[in-house]
Symmetry: C2
Subunit: 240 residues, 2 copies
């Protein structure tokens, strides 16, 4: 856990922002801050192969002046079942299908439910008004827990799961501002808000120096997004 001397948040409503170290969540953090929230960034150290993401999250939280940044360990590696946490190779990109081609081995079982649950726990302690998640269901890998209907079900659960459902003096919204955006639209939005994409990592199997492999599915979506947005990806050069 690290804390930053962020914006004066005495009067600002609080938000918990899930920050993975990837591009989408960096844009989501900037979006939430732009809406005036005091942003409490939450990164889950879940045993992912791509540890460079956690360093990216730390740098992004600092540069974007999050009110606070917590890194919480939850050992999804003990559960396995994914190329991102278990001893299963990360494949090259499939023909890009917008999520209609079945669920890839990079899917981590129930990951967003675990992440949102922990964000909900912290939101309840903070009395945060919103939880932001960078889930996207357009240019994505077809993970079930990125879809709007899933996020709506979590919002319903959140209302019943907490003091909100009993005492009624507090309520939290689940906000996924990028859920219907293309990757190019996300990049354009991030550029406009000054997001430093050189501090983000999208690759499922980065090299030891933190540079992306360039051929996994996530690298594919990122490359397509930068190309369509007419932007240069700063993460492709030497970095960190």
């Amino acid at each position: 856990m690290s804390a930053f001397a962020g914006k004066d948040s005495a009067a600002a409503a609080k938000a918990v922002v899930l920050l993975s170290g990837g591009l989408d969540s960096a844009v989501t953090l900037a979006y939430a801050a732009g809406k005036g929230y005091a942003c409490h960034a939450l990164t889950l150290d879940y045993g992912q192969r791509h540890r460079v993401e956690i360093q990216c999250a730390q740098k992004t939280a600092a540069v974007q002046k999050a009110a606070e940044h917590k890194i919480i360990r939850v050992d999804l590696g003990a559960i396995g079942g994914s190329a991102l946490t278990a001893d299963i190779p990360v494949p090259d990109a499939r023909p890009q299908s917008g999520g209609t081609g079945g669920i890839p081995v990079t899917y981590v079982p129930a990951r967003n439910t675990v992440f949102l649950s922990l964000a909900l726990a912290w939101a309840e302690v903070l009395r945060a008004k919103a939880i932001f998640i960078g889930a996207n269901s357009v240019d994505y890998s077809g993970y079930p827990d990125c879809r709007p209907e899933y996020l709506q079900a979590f919002a319903h659960l959140a209302a019943l799961a907490t003091q909100a459902g009993v005492v009624g003096d507090w309520k939290v919204e689940i906000q996924a501002p990028l859920v219907q955006c293309t990757k190019a639209e996300i990049i354009t939005l991030g550029k406009k808000m000054g997001v430093d994409f050189s501090l983000t990592s999208s690759c499922y199997r980065p090299r030891t120096d933190g540079r992306p492999c360039g051929t996994c599915e996530s690298c594919g979506w990122r490359r397509k997004g930068f190309a369509e947005a007419g932007e240069q990806d700063p993460a492709l050069g030497p970095r960190m």
Copy 2:
């Protein structure tokens, strides 16, 4: 993580059973086994003060011959907000109100959502047919995430959160067989199934030797339950 040479589970449907080390989850494990499931017990080491619970869970999983027992660490202490995880004193029991007297400081924000999420992740890897949780909404402390409407919302979420919602070749039920039972009924059921209550701990602030304080709210519910069931509580003598 430890594995036991459990029942022959080649043909049995699998279940993930949340096992806290308390009385209710020990009865739930016996119930699930009695229904013929190969039981994969899951204990969360979440930074609780009452660490003796984890030892109880290990002994109960072994004695009841669970197919497998995983202990996964998730640091809810980093989130705080509860007398069970943060530096807030555990109070003596309030007048027992069946959950109508507000939410006590022993409530751990979003705990059951975090626990069920991790159970869901494991259930998806195992292709388990059910997740069992010992939640109870009768003789309990009024926690919002023990109520039937909460559990129904989680079941709805689970269907959308996982491959079940996309591929449709697998489905998991959320089972809370004790949700409408009194503590006395739970104890009577457990006795009938041979549950060894000396291996369970219910106390929110046990002594250093593992014995219960006798005066916290959870000890109060337990004492009332044993009295109403006409049974002796074996955990009150020297144990472990």
